[in-house]
């Protein structure tokens, strides 16, 4: 047999030119068409599923070679190819249009890809996205959905708290198994961070909403405006449902405990992004929610949230600087998004820790005072270099500041329900993701603290399996 010919370089995906995209919130990356997707899929060397490192790298274990093979097998019938590929993906992940866009593939499925050792890894994320987008545009997903609708008679009822990635995945997996699922969501729209946190230019809300329509088609009920812990308690849910899944995330912003934190125009990234994404404040006054962004914005932090906030502020017409207390190589944001931010003109300042916000006579912020930091050789628990202050200070002018230094779990639920929790507010769970309250499971940022969309989805999926076992056992012993 002839040795397979390796194509080392990935097929690129087109992007909107910088000068055009910084003026609006439209999506930056335009994705593959069928011909280019096929070309990229053909680079995959088709490792056997039981070995394929890409599958192991994916937190929900999508059969990646399987869906790429499905594309290749029907090269002359795109609709059929996509339908077969989507079926393979949906077996493990019901939100591929989302994950194909927002996963840090470079750390997950694409990191161990064998092709990455000789050239570029397969562009798995963009291929997953292509399958989902093409299927949606041609209505193929609606046809396929019928195959996944399960009989719900008598299997059981499950309440899911929080309609973010963890809760959505748990609900969809349980619905596919035949459970009757109700999601309780505090905000007026489902989606969690996908709706209020991640901007349109990375994840268009129309696409998200179409993905969320699957919930209804699979028989999942969504109750918005329900704040579990206030509107209804976990105890009450347990009386009505066979099990409960908590996917309430980590939505409380950490703020800096330094002078001036209450000055005008200092936002938490969560407030800033919620106004922009959920409330569409960038369309004010067509939309009623206002947002006040000046000419010079400083974003503090260097995770994905910081990139999203910086690029959003840029699109509102500001000059934006990201200030980070560590160095370039310590940034936690996705490589692709750091690249986008740089292309779009976001400036970066490293080794600066804010020590004071300085205000003008009207109580508006006018500058941020930073201490210059210096890295040490020693590393912390997460493998990042430790830093120390140098005693030198620098003051940078700014008329708006956005704080993106991290999030922690919301305390409403824990306080109201008496869960065993860690000091940082994350819920304590066992190996089956069950909390200290029997029948109540939890996953995502609610147990991990701030992590990623796909890890939350992995937890949602794992919890769905555990809930299925739990309910089966309960019914067998009843």
């Amino acid at each position: 047999m002839a040795k397979p010919k390796l194509i080392k370089e990935r097929v690129p995906t087109p992007e909107r030119p910088v000068e055009e995209r910084v003026k609006s919130f439209v999506e930056v990356n335009l994705g593959y068409d069928f011909a280019s997707a096929l070309k990229e899929a053909e680079r995959c060397i088709q490792c056997p599923p039981e070995y394929a490192p890409c599958i192991k790298g994916c937190p929900v274990h999508i059969n990646i070679p399987g869906f790429l093979k499905a594309l290749r097998e029907n090269a002359d019938n795109p609709d059929e190819a996509v339908k077969n590929a989507l079926r393979v993906i949906w077996n493990d992940n019901t939100l591929p249009a989302v994950t194909g866009r927002v996963c840090p593939q470079e750390d997950q499925c694409e990191a161990p890809c064998v092709m990455g050792k000789v050239g570029d890894p397969i562009n798995i994320g963009k291929l997953e996205r292509f399958v989902a987008d093409y299927a949606r545009e041609r209505g193929i997903d609606q046809e396929l959905l019928k195959e996944f609708i399960a009989e719900t008679d008598g299997k059981g009822r499950v309440a899911v708290v929080g309609a973010g990635p963890a809760g959505l995945t748990c609900a969809l997996e349980l619905a596919k198994m035949g459970y009757k699922v109700t999601i309780f969501e505090a905000l007026h729209e489902a989606g969690g961070v996908l709706m209020y946190g991640i901007p349109e230019f990375r994840l268009p809300k129309d696409i998200l909403k179409t993905e969320l329509e699957k919930l209804e088609k699979l028989g999942v009920e969504v109750k918005t405006n329900y704040i579990v812990g206030k509107t209804v308690t976990v105890e009450e849910l347990l009386q009505e449902y066979d099990a409960v899944f908590i996917g309430t995330g980590a939505g409380t912003p950490k703020l800096l405990n330094i002078p001036g934190i209450l000055l005008d125009r200092i936002y938490s990234a969560n407030e800033f992004l919620t106004r922009v994404n959920l409330m569409k404040a960038y369309l004010f006054p067509e939309y009623d929610t206002p947002i006040a962004v000046g000419k010079k914005v400083i974003v503090i932090g260097a995770g994905n949230t910081a990139m999203d906030a910086a690029r959003s502020a840029l699109r509102l017409g500001a000059e934006v600087t990201i200030a980070y207390r560590r160095g370039r190589e310590d940034m936690t944001a996705r490589v692709e998004e750091i690249g986008h931010a740089e292309e779009e003109g976001v400036k970066f300042e490293f080794f600066l820790t804010p020590v004071e916000f300085i205000g003008d006579e009207n109580g508006k912020v006018k500058a941020v005072k930073f201490e210059k930091m210096r890295p040490l050789e020693e590393r912390d628990r997460r493998g990042k270099r430790k830093i120390v202050g140098t005693g030198e200070y620098v003051t940078i002018e700014a008329d708006t500041v956005i704080i993106a230094i991290g999030l922690e779990p919301n305390k409403i639920l824990v306080e109201a329900s008496g869960f065993k929790a860690n000091p940082d507010g994350t819920l304590i769970v066992d190996e089956n993701l069950m909390t200290s309250i029997p029948g109540v499971f939890a996953g995502g940022d609610a147990i991990r603290g701030e992590a990623t969309v796909i890890l939350a989805m992995g937890d949602g999926k794992k919890a769905a399996k555990a809930i299925d076992e739990y309910i089966k056992d309960k019914k067998a012993n009843a």
Partner: protein, 292 residues
């Protein structure tokens, strides 16, 4: 979607909405609030259930027409229409204890938030006096409060048509401060509670402080989600940053950093005015269109 069962103008710029919202009606306690989003492209605003019926599943909201969203609600919503979103109940309930003799003050439409708390305090065995200070045509809930508490005092200030609204409001502040001083001089109270504009809360607090009476205030910072996920409503209380939506809205008036709070409430004044002006333009256009 939450159906409007009743809607009526009960005083100048004060609209009464009785809304079907069983999830809130079932759980709400005095001192808690809801977040309402009335329109598709609308904003989220905090409002307070004034009355409720747990069995029938309704709540009453009384809304002061203050800017675009409240004006749109007053103009565009009809009985039978639906409010898109009502999330709640939110915030902590008011402390329900036997404090003794209480003076509960409501400035303007703030009295509607005082109502459920004062009523519950009275029912618990407290001796509650309520004080409502507002413009003459804006008196609301007079009969209801007279029935609910030991004594209800209404102090009104006429609207001087030659003066602009902010100047007129200064007269309310003046009367408020005078009346509170007069009442504290005449009788001793165990607790003062107040709902109203932050500037007025501070002015009253300055008087109460002189008498050394404990005071609580329901704060009204800007809110977005109302569930503790953004910190828009942050306030400094006792030197610590608190989120009014989850740690409040009621705080010890002696611990609140009043000046900071007053500054924060004016953050969006320009944009609020712009939103209102654009809305007025739309109404004018619609009126002109109707005449043709």
């Amino acid at each position: 979607m939450y159906k409007i069962l009743e809607k009526k103008e009960i005083a100048m710029r004060n609209t009464w909405y009785k809304v079907h919202a069983p999830h809130v009606a079932k759980k709400v306690k005095p001192g808690q609030f809801v977040i309402v989003r009335a329109f598709k492209n609308g904003e989220r605003i905090p409002l307070t259930p004034v009355m409720w019926d747990r069995d029938e599943g309704w709540i009453v909201l009384i809304v002061f027409t203050r800017g675009k969203t409240t004006a749109r609600m007053a103009n565009e919503l009809k009985p039978g229409d639906e409010i898109l979103n009502i999330a709640g109940p939110l915030g902590n309930p008011a402390e329900m204890e036997k404090f003794g003799k209480i003076l509960a003050i409501g400035a303007y439409t703030g009295i509607v938030e005082v109502y459920p708390i004062a009523k519950a305090w009275q029912e618990l065995g407290n001796d509650v006096t309520t004080l409502h200070v507002t413009f003459e045509p804006m008196v609301v809930l007079k009969d209801e409060l007279e029935r609910a508490v030991g004594r209800h005092v209404v102090e009104t200030v006429p609207i001087d048509p030659n003066l602009d609204f902010p100047t007129n409001m200064k007269n309310v502040t003046k009367r408020l401060v005078e009346k509170v001083r007069e009442m504290l001089e005449k009788e001793s109270y165990d607790l003062v509670f107040m709902v109203g504009p932050t500037g007025d809360q501070k002015a009253v607090f300055e008087v109460v402080k002189e008498f050394g009476v404990p005071m609580k205030a329901d704060l009204h910072p800007i809110m977005v989600d109302g569930t503790g996920m953004c910190g828009a409503c942050r306030v400094t209380v006792g030197g610590e940053v608190k989120f009014a939506c989850i740690d409040g809205p009621e705080f010890d008036a002696y611990e609140i950093h009043w000046d900071e709070l007053i500054a924060r409430s004016g953050y969006y004044t320009d944009m609020e005015q712009r939103a209102m002006q654009e809305y007025m333009k739309l109404i004018e256009q619609a009126l002109q269109g109707g005449e043709q």
